[in-house]
């Protein structure tokens, strides 16, 4: 209630006062890749500019996550997975979800050998991302009592390909494709979607602090609008090629190696995961799944406190 009133007042102030003229820093979760195409498109295609907001995209380092940067004031808006955000929120870092781009969970458990059920992985070595995004799998492990032996890894799938792991966590839009592009042939019995075992937890979203939000409601709304418009622009099939080229240019700027095929695949999958099964893009956190996720995380000790949906999630409407 309080927040809503503040929002309206600030909105009015901002509307009267006009554009703030301030540079908004936005940080994606990782190094440039098609997962964050909406950001890059919003910048390159002038969606931010059209909204009258000045945005700087600031990427995280290898040692600091985007939420760390948000907490440390090194960025204004940070992308994060919902689970990660909940963990941080529970630990006292009040976050506000201002935009939810991911609608469906992307985690796939890929096994070295074909299995008839996930239970056959019990006690086996499973690779996971050291840097985060593995909490959903940890919850599944606890939920199913698989007693998996987690092996952390950095980024690429070389450890899995070396054969020392029995399975690995992958994102459908990234590591899963990396495994396929290495030439390994996978069947249905090698791939187990996480959402088959726990709630279909949403992933990528944009977060900011309440303070920033309150002081920059209008700009925040503009950023969110621009990002949404950028994603909708990318969704148009005829724009897809250009969208990938924008991503590739970002990779080049960061001296990062990737190939168009992989980035195109990643972009297609990210856009797919933004849609419901009916093809609708809600751009918001589903309250039912939110509450279910909170419940799960609490059950297995990933968070300890109840998190109210409305406390964490802001739906911006003009």
């Amino acid at each position: 209630m309080y927040k809503r009133l503040t929002f309206v007042i600030m909105l009015a102030v901002l509307f009267i006062s006009g554009v703030s003229g301030k540079t908004i820093r936005i940080t994606p979760q990782w190094y440039p890749q098609a997962q964050f195409a909406g950001l890059y498109i919003a910048e390159k295609k002038g969606f931010f500019k059209d909204m009258g907001v000045d945005v700087q995209i600031v990427h995280p380092s290898g040692t600091e996550s985007s939420l760390d940067m948000l907490r440390d004031g090194k960025t204004d808006i940070a992308m994060s997975q919902l689970i990660d955000a909940l963990t941080n929120y529970d630990s006292g870092f009040e976050l506000l979800n201002i935009l939810q781009t991911s609608e469906r969970n992307s985690v796939l458990i890929v096994t070295r050998e074909p299995l008839d059920s996930i239970q056959q992985l019990s006690g086996k070595r499973v690779g996971h991302w050291k840097s985060g995004f593995s909490e959903g799998a940890f919850i599944m492990n606890a939920e199913l009592g698989l007693n998996l032996r987690w092996i952390p890894y950095n980024s690429d799938v070389s450890i899995f390909l070396s054969g020392v792991l029995d399975a690995t966590l992958t994102m459908i839009y990234n590591e899963y494709d990396q495994i396929l592009m290495s030439g390994v042939e996978l069947t249905e019995k090698n791939v187990f979607p996480l959402s088959d075992y726990i709630v279909d937890a949403q992933e990528d979203g944009f977060y900011t602090t309440p303070e920033f939000y309150n002081n920059n409601i209008d700009d925040v709304w503009k950023c969110v609008t621009a990002i949404k418009e950028a994603w909708e622009w990318a969704r148009i099939k005829s724009h897809r090629k250009e969208a990938v080229e924008i991503v590739m240019s970002m990779l080049k700027d960061f001296n990062l190696r990737s190939n168009i095929t992989h980035q195109r695949y990643m972009l297609d999958k990210i856009l797919e995961n933004q849609e419901t099964k009916d093809g609708v893009v809600p751009y918001m956190v589903d309250p039912v799944r939110f509450n279910e996720l909170v419940s799960l995380m609490r059950r297995y000790g990933f968070i300890f406190n109840e998190v109210d949906y409305n406390d964490m999630v802001i739906t911006l409407e003009k």
Partner: protein
């Protein structure tokens, strides 16, 4: 021109077959060569790839061997508890010092190996001054516990070559790290010892050893990325799978899968059929120690260059050979076949009658020579046969001529002037004989001697000249005896005796001899084996064959002393006696059916006896010919019919009582004519003058001319004897005021009444109509009336018609 076309056509056939064989042979050679080349190329490519692989393994093994040695040494030290921090430092520095290809080395220890350190990674490398520098690494910023070069050997317990990476993007140096898991005395892995090498040397070797001129090699890491590639933008970036997706290549996809499994193989990239220039063979084989794959992309044109060149040369040779062969073949065939034209010309000349024309000379003893010999033989044979033919033809013509003469002689021997006794109207006789060949064996004869009428009909056995000669003999003998007033049986016996004597040919004659008393009608006859005549009573009471009771007489000529009986019969006025030979009743049609006695009787019955004998015979003849229906005459056919009025003597007085009318008008005109067919023209001119004078309608004038031409021609041709003498006759004309014209022909030839000829049945065909009837029919059609009179031994034919203007 014809020969050239033949040569061209033959050459065409030959060259089509040759072309087909050449093409098939070329196809097979190129195919076999391609298959062989493909097999060799694959084998050769794999041999070269194996060399590259061995070289890579060699270079890798040099490093791995060193690291393994150092690692073992370290392990021994660790096991003996003699390995401290400095020892780890030393070993990383030493390996750099002793191995120029090692650019970095690390000993990364497990957490809290040294209790004070969670992370402890001792790393030596070259600094910018190319001096070895050792640092301790590890922490949140360098979490080596999650690096593959650490995790994999720790988890597997085995050495590990990691997938190449770029140390610094700025320098773009591809590196790879070999890790050796360090174990303590209990066998627990306490860390890893690594050596980093730059793989530029490997890359250089991979790049330089080309299998073919335009081929290039690729080194592929375990994660699929290209370690070495002709396109540097693909390094550590693209994989065979991304290439397969990008270029929609099934072969690249297969290679990606095989490389991931460490399988050796090859495939075709691109579509050689659609885009030969941009299609490739890809050969690949694993580098087992590093789990890499070495591949080579070879342009198919390069692989099959030798086959392609050979194929092109083969095709060129084929085309040149084909053209040369075609030209030579045409030339040779033209030369070989050139005599054909000459043969054709010779054949034409021979056909035109020049039998002695020169044939083309053939020197070579082949089929042409055989043709030449055949032509020569044909030529000689033709000359010989034509000469023989000429001789034969001349002889045949002579024989035919003699036969014609013989026929004329034979015909002259039998009575053929009818009526034979024009001054007598009590005798109506007509006879007809038609030999089967030029001369025949039938005979008939009759002789009037003082009111006794002798007649005979006979049939000599056989046909042709022999029978004709026998007939002549028989007839002569008949004539001899009939003048002796002998009885019929005596005549026959005498003829038999004469004919039987010296009858070496054993021929015989069936004979019927009759002697008729013209006063009483008494007929005495002797039938020597001949067909019985038919008696036709004038009252119609009987038309039947003459019945002979008692012994049947034999034909004459068989036995010299054979008996012959005579028989009697009385004829009444206008009774008709019809005599014939078996050529009549045995006339056959195409079905070999005989005319038969029955049909003869039927015909005679239907015709009746109250008609002139000529007409009677014409009827019978027509019926026989109708039966024969064009079938050939197999035997001599003779008929003789006679009818009498008995007791009447010279009845010419009646004729003498008539007078020729002399009454004429002023329009009377007269033309004197002689029995010469050229007179017809005079007549035509005379008629023309009358046409002009009396204004006769032109069409009618032409019709009248036609009718008179027919009547006059009849007189010219038949009225007078053919003795070469000129006989005169007249044609006169008169017309009254009503334009009733009278045209009259008066001749003193033999009695002949053309009006008694039955009108021709114009509904019948010309062949079926009685001969002579058509002319009088035409005259009767043109003229209003036609009348005949015999006046003072003259034939007077009077024709009347009304003239049209």
């Amino acid at each position: 021109m014809r020969q050239k076309k033949f040569a061209r056509r033959l050459t065409g056939f030959i060259m089509i077959n040759v072309g087909f064989c050449f093409a098939l042979a070329s196809f097979l050679v190129i195919k076999w060569s391609t298959d062989n080349n493909r097999k060799n190329a694959i084998e050769n490519s794999f041999n070269k790839l194996d060399l590259i692989e061995l070289n890579i393994e060699s270079q890798l093994s040099k490093v791995s061997a060193v690291v393994d040695n150092f690692g073992k040494t370290l392990e021994n030290q660790i096991k003996n508890g003699q390995c401290g921090y400095e020892d780890f430092e030393n070993v990383t520095q030493l390996i750099l010092q002793q191995n120029s290809n090692v650019v970095g080395s690390i000993v990364a220890l497990k957490p809290y190996y040294f209790p004070q350190y969670e992370y402890c990674a001792i790393y030596s490398s070259y600094n910018s001054d190319h001096e070895i520098e050792t640092n301790k690494l590890g922490g949140i910023s360098y979490d080596y516990f999650t690096a593959d070069w650490y995790v994999v050997p720790v988890l597997s317990g085995k050495t590990y070559w990691n997938d190449p990476y770029v140390e610094t993007e700025a320098e773009s140096i591809e590196m790879t790290t070999y890790s050796y898991p360090l174990k303590d005395a209990s066998g627990e892995i306490i860390g890893v010892f690594t050596a980093d090498i730059a793989i530029n040397a490997i890359n250089a070797f991979v790049k330089n050893l080309q299998l073919y001129e335009h081929s290039f090699n690729m080194l592929i890491a375990k994660n699929g990325t290209f370690i070495s590639h002709a396109d540097s933008t693909k390094l550590l970036n693209e994989t065979p799978m991304t290439e397969a997706i990008l270029y929609n290549s099934a072969s690249m996809e297969k290679m990606a899968h095989d490389a991931a499994k460490g399988i050796r193989g090859y495939g075709v990239v691109g579509d050689p059929h659609k885009d030969y220039e941009n299609s490739y063979f890809v050969f690949y084989t694993p580098v087992p120690s590093a789990n890499w794959t070495i591949a080579s992309l070879c342009p198919i044109p390069d692989v099959f260059e030798s086959t392609y060149i050979m194929g092109n040369r083969l095709i060129l040779v084929f085309v040149i050979a084909f053209v040369v062969l075609s030209a030579l073949t045409i030339l040779i065939i033209s030369r070989l076949a050139s005599p054909l034209k000459l043969f054709a010309k010779s054949a034409q000349e021979i056909a035109e009658g020049n039998l002695t024309t020169q044939l083309p000379a053939i020197k070579v003893h082949d089929e042409m020579f055989q043709m030449h010999e055949s032509f020569r033989y044909m030529q000689k044979s033709l000359i010989s046969q034509i000469s023989a033919l000429k001789t034969t033809t001349a002889a045949k013509e002579r024989v035919e001529s003699e036969l014609n003469i013989a026929r004329n002689i034979q015909m002259s021997m039998i009575p053929k002037m009818f009526p034979p006794y024009p001054e007598r109207n009590d005798i109506d006789i007509y006879a007809f004989m038609r030999p089967a060949k030029e001369v025949g064996g039938d005979l008939y004869d009759f002789f009037l001697n003082d009111n006794k009428f002798y007649f005979a009909i006979g049939d000599v056995s056989g046909k042709g000249v022999p029978a004709a000669l026998f007939m002549a003999v028989s007839r002569s003998i008949f004539r001899t005896f009939v003048q002796s007033d002998a009885d019929a049986d005596f005549i026959v016996r005498s003829m038999n005796a004469a004919v039987s004597n010296n009858n070496d040919s054993n021929m015989f004659v069936t004979l019927f001899v009759g002697i008729l008393d013209l006063k009483t009608g008494h007929l005495s006859y002797c039938n020597a084996g001949h067909n019985p005549p038919v008696v036709m009573r004038a009252d119609g009471s009987c038309v039947d064959f003459m019945q002979i009771e008692g012994r049947k007489n034999l034909p004459i000529g068989l036995f010299e002393d054979a008996p012959y009986d005579r028989h009697e019969l009385t004829l009444n006025d206008h009774d008709t006696l019809f005599l014939y030979t078996d050529g009549l009743t045995e006339a056959e049609n195409h079905k070999a059916e005989l005319y038969s006695d029955e049909r003869l009787l039927k015909t005679l019955s239907s015709v009746g006896s109250h008609i002139p004998m000529r007409d009677l015979l014409d009827n019978v003849l027509a019926d026989v010919e109708a039966h024969a229906a064009g079938a050939g005459q197999s035997d001599d056919l003779t008929m003789m019919a006679m009818s009498f009025v008995f007791g009447k003597e010279n009845s010419l007085a009646l004729e003498d009582e008539k007078t020729l009318s002399d009454a004429h008008s002023e329009n009377y005109r007269k033309l004197e004519m002689i029995n010469n067919i050229d007179q017809i023209n005079n007549m035509a001119q005379w008629i023309e003058s009358l046409t002009d004078e009396f204004g006769i309608n032109m069409a009618q004038s032409m019709s009248i001319n036609l009718a008179l031409e027919e009547a006059v021609a009849n007189v010219i041709m038949y009225a007078y004897p053919k003795d070469g003498k000129e006989y005169t006759f007249t044609l006169d004309f008169d017309v009254d005021e009503n334009r009733n014209s009278t045209w009259r022909i008066v001749d003193s030839g033999r009695p002949f009444n053309p009006t008694t000829k039955a009108d021709a049945d114009t509904t019948l065909s010309a062949e079926d109509r009685k001969i002579g009837g058509l002319g009088i029919l035409m005259v009767k059609k043109i003229m209003d009336s036609v009348e005949y009179e015999r006046i003072h031994k003259q034939n007077v034919l009077t024709m009347k018609v009304i003239l049209k203007e």
